[in-house]
Amino acid sequence: MSAASPSTPAPGSPLLLTLLQARTYVALLLVFGFFAVMAPNFLSVANSVIVAKHAALTAFLAIGMTFVIITGGIDLSVGSTVGLCSMVSGWLILYGIDLGTVGTMHFNTLEITLIVMCVGVFVGFINGILITKLNVAPFIATLGTLYIARGAALLSSGGRTFPNLSGNPDYGSDSFPAIGAGTFLGLPVQIWMLIAVGLVAAYIARRTPLGRHIYAVGGNERGAALSGVKVNRVKLFVYMFSGFCAAIVGLIIASQLQAAHPATGETFELNAIAAAVLGGTSLSGGRGKIGGTIVGAFVISILSDGLVMMSVSSFWQTVIKGLVIVAAVVIDQAQSRLQARVALQQEAALGR
């Protein structure tokens, strides 16, 4: 009887609630509209592509971060993983792998891409093992791998840049620069990659048992475990996925610049966390959406690029970014309170 009633939002404050739920999109429209009016050339095609490319880098990391945060964890190591993966791709292009007596093995672009992704996933795997099997708090475990990965990146070149990564046609790696610079059907390759990764992640989140388990682990780890969720496997997956996303970013940057610098990706993890939070992901776990996160990444990128175009001092840019993040979290709290109240009213209206 009552169970059959439709799931439309209850009367009360539906308009406010809808507005709050869509706040990330509202924020996107606001920053977009603001800079379209205020910043010269903001709407030009060339600029739009640049902004989108910047946003994509943050968005990749933020997608991986969203899963991690939904399980109630945090991954501080993604920025360093970006740097490490950049260096690995640079090394592979320049030197290949030295097999001693057999000679040196060189790789084509596809092989390099796969190896680098494996490196990223491996860093995530280490994070996952530390957190699940060895019971280290996520913050500390990933802080440790942050330093280790960064150190390894610096060691790989002695702190120097790997220059001229244009690849070598003899080994089939001359297509490497296309990852970051190429276009397909008019859109940059990395935007296509973002669309692919975003769709896969959103699919996992909404239509697979794994996705549901990710939310359950973040909502109540004990309860999930007692319901038959393999908590450790879920956690292992999210950190490995986060490492995978970081590897993509590392590849793109190395390809775009045709150079790999060991400091690549410093503080990227903070942008990724900010984008996820801006997109409605709750740091206490259990809540977050991939779509929201991607929009959040665009808001942050448009904000910083737009401010640059308006030649606002970079010091002010930092302050403004911080204010936006704080405001997002405050609004997020208000929304969840309102949502809980509306749901309670609905149940109460049922007359017990």
Binding site: P209, Y215, S227, V229
Partner: protein, 511 residues
Amino acid sequence: MTEKHPIGLKMRGAVKVYPGTRALKGVDFDLRMGAVNVLVGENGAGKSTLMKLIAGVEDMTEGTITMDGREMRFRTKADAVAAGIGIVFQELNLFPNLSVAENIFIGHETTRAGIDIDIEAHRRATRVLMERLEQNIHPDTPLGNLRIGQQQIVEIAKALAQNARILILDEPTSALSAAEVEVLFRVIDELKAQGVGIVYISHRLEELIRVGDYITVLRDGTITGARSMEGVDIPWIVQAMIGSSSKEYGRSEVANFGPEIFRAEAIALPRAGGGFTVDHVSLSIRAGEIVGLYGLMGAGRSEFLECVMAQHPHAGGRFFVEGKPLTERDVPGRIARGIALIPEDRKRDGLIQIMSIRENLTLSSLPGFAKLFHLDLKREAQTALDFIKRLTIKVASPENPVSSLSGGNQQKVVIGKALMTGPKVLLMDEPSRGIDIGAKAEVFRTMRRLAAEGLGILFVTSDLDEVLALSDRIIVMAQGRVTGEFPSGTEAAKVISATTAPAQNSKDIAA
């Protein structure tokens, strides 16, 4: 007698309402000084709530407390402490990382100039207290190094250190050894002689009769008996505790048990620091049978269920489902074999509060809705709706968060989640905790129906009424061991006596 024991605290018309339940319904209580006022009642009768009101831990909804003719209002524990009321909770509120002396003076440290803690004064005072309590405990010992019984003594010392005129002891002996109980009783006698009014809560009826001067019996939030201890015996207490009218959840149809569906053999869960929390428990359940597992708090019943659900990997013993050994070591494996657990603490273990009702219902059986990795959301929603109807869960929408439901409906969601896995054996830990009478009856009817459908049900309860009315067979546990097994229709007194019996003969019973 009355002049000898003046009334130190008078409570009139005390009402305490929690969201959804009335825990106390107009209670009058007189606390006499220089005497032991014992308080009995089943779990959930309102004993602890009553004491929390007196100790200022909870605020009264209605009613008055008067002390020495003045009306008092305890809004916080500090108010009550200022009025000379100390309470020792059943669950210890101590800091294992701090020393004994630091624990005793936490929150009311003796200081020099308000900032510098006078450690020497703490040590001295602690030594005096420990002498008074006949304990050889050094003030600097880290509390975590003490046995639970000793920790309880420290908790009492903490109340004494604040010069309590009224001391409330909530189940103080549940963790004590026989020798420690003797010490405690001597301390109580001494405190009585000093004119301290003591409230003593316990489930051990013999103990109450021995130590008490006045007795108050609570049932369902009202007082059903209050008198001087003279002439009180166990049958009188039991009568007042459970009343004459038995609640009717009785079996309507003829019992029709199938073959044995679940068996546990010598399940042993070692306790940190020696002994066993679950001490070689063996039991079996037949298809269609409801077995009640009764006992006091800390008897090891919940831990036994946790062992069945693979929560204690180091537990010994073997389980069998339909005669085949249960070798799966993780929860999903055991769920797949037809075991389902409805945990005691819904909020902590049973539900994902921020997820929707639908998502909670299907959480344990998601792989069943997936082809490879693709979830069939339509079929999932349909099945969730089916279960909502079948269990008559009252919801506005299955998409609302489960936290918006009342306790009884939340419990039904937990039951629905367990049932969706298609279990053969249902383990229910305190299935009626925190839900109102109407919902309770519905949950019990559901249990009856499930049993009739051929499930084996093992349910843990601390409610004597419930276990007597609902069970086809009653198994009693005490101190980790099975101390008695009774057919349905056994007298209440027999069941109660088994809860405190030292179980030397558990092996024979199990056999």
